[in-house]
């Protein structure tokens, strides 16, 4: 049978997360395409790409993984850019094309552990192409050790969810509209959703992919609900 162990486990976990019966996996949608943009060297965390891939497979329908190629991404309902560092021209074209066509685009920052130079490139790309303002990466665990609390990311959209932190976050800048904030860590805004062109732009300053990869049920539920809300693009 042409199914990998990871794929099978992804299906099981995804079905359980979504409350679907195991014997009748129900795809979220049959026609809307979901595309994972593999940035290659500019994807800081390969496990994040794997996490989205297995989680989307678990939701039914899977996703096609493409390298930065605007044509391959066109017409998709959902474009996910896992663990992004610098966004090269082709990647920006794919993102902008999808947003213009009404798709949902998730850009996950992979800059939490980046060098100063890589972070600067990441910040410039987000600012110049998407008018997203971010601040320098922040370590969460020195404060967590003092307080004894685990720094979960608290999402408020699409439904309340708590997902384990990834040690370092890329917080959103003060210029971002408070109404767009959909996730915080210890009060700091780290996730955002806003209209952009005809589509929706979601920025995640704390990587979700590694949590998906590790089988985090809350992370899978968050993705499932987000995927369900994604509309087919033009």
């Amino acid at each position: 049978m042409g199914i990998t162990r990871r794929g099978f486990l992804g299906c099981v976990a995804g079905s359980l997360t979504a409350g679907l019966p195991l014997d009748r996996p129900r795809p979220v949608a049959t026609s809307p395409r979901r595309v994972l943009l593999d940035l290659g060297e500019q994807c800081a965390l390969p496990e994040s790409l794997s996490g989205y891939e297995s989680a989307l497979a678990g939701l039914g329908g899977g996703a096609s993984v493409t390298h930065a190629d605007a044509r391959a991404a066109s017409g998709c309902a959902l474009l996910i850019v896992p663990a992004a560092l610098a966004l090269r021209a082709a990647a920006v074209r794919a993102i902008v094309t999808c947003l213009g066509a009404g798709a949902t685009v998730i850009i996950e920052s992979g800059a939490g552990f980046a060098t100063d130079r890589d972070f600067a490139a990441h910040r410039v790309a987000l600012r110049d192409h998407l008018r997203l303002y971010i601040e320098a990466p922040l370590g969460l665990w020195s404060a967590a050790r003092r307080s004894g609390a685990i720094p979960y990311v608290d999402y408020t959209w699409p439904s309340p969810a708590q997902v384990r932190d990834f040690s370092r976050v890329v917080p959103l800048g003060r210029r971002e509209d408070e109404r767009d904030i959909i996730g915080r860590v210890d009060g700091r805004p780290v996730a955002l959703k806003r209209r952009c062109g005809r589509g929706d732009l979601i920025f995640l300053g704390s990587p979700l992919g590694p949590a998906l990869w590790a089988g985090d049920a809350e992370a899978r539920r968050w993705l499932f609900l987000t995927v369900r809300g994604a509309r087919p693009g033009g």
């Binding site: 965390l45 496990e47 552990f113 665990w141 685990i150 040690s167 370092r168 590790a214």
Partner: protein, 279 residues
Amino acid sequence: MKKAIGDNMFAKQWGFERGLELVKQAGFDGIELWLGDVPWFQLSTTDGEVRELRRKVENAGLVVSNVSTGLHWASPLSARDPTVRARATRIVEREIETAVLLGTDAILVVAGLVTEEVPYNEVYQRSVDALRPLGQTAARAGVRIGCENCNAEHRFLMSPREFGQFLDDVHSPAVGIHLDVGNIHDTGFAEQWIEIHGPRITRIHVKDVMKKRGRCGDQSVYTNLFLGDNNWPAIRAALSKVGYDGWLVAEMEARYRHAPDQQFYDTAQAMDRLISGRL
């Protein structure tokens, strides 16, 4: 079975040659070399210098039993930071390279480190993903990677079945278990680990453990052979049952406060008794 002891047991003032001399005099057959834990064997040690270490070992009438390292405690394969992970991978690769240069076929790796910050499921996945390609590298070099059961120390792979599942998931004949019979503490029984893992055991660390006490401040929970709570007759019987005939490597955490050389003689004699089965 053959007896070895680690060069990280050498007193600082001895140096490598004097340490080797003592190891031979005490009756050991081999020496375990600890990459990064002793001044003479660092990541920066060149291939030529590694060959010179081998020459000194052989001149002393010994062989290298295996290459080990404690560097993965600070740079684990399971780290979230890709830079740390790359360093951890490089450490394993260097262990493999030096094992070949030193004429041995086994290395020790601490496969993953669960912390408050990096949770178990992540550590598991990341360790499996890291070890798959490293297993291929090791196989090409004719070396086996022994993942050490550090149990409570790395809060990972606490039971023998779980460890077996982990090795199944890594799915490489070049990746097995470097079994430490002292590390199991009060969470199980070394003889059962031996029975379960049998042919997958690459090397065995021997030390005794005071199961009933646990760690107490800065005092070690480990002790010399036959002073602790391990069931040594059962361990010896299990070794016979699975046909283990490889290296037993002494790893003493607590050191003699006086006459540190005496610990080498006492340990070698205790290991002789263990091997002979006169327990």
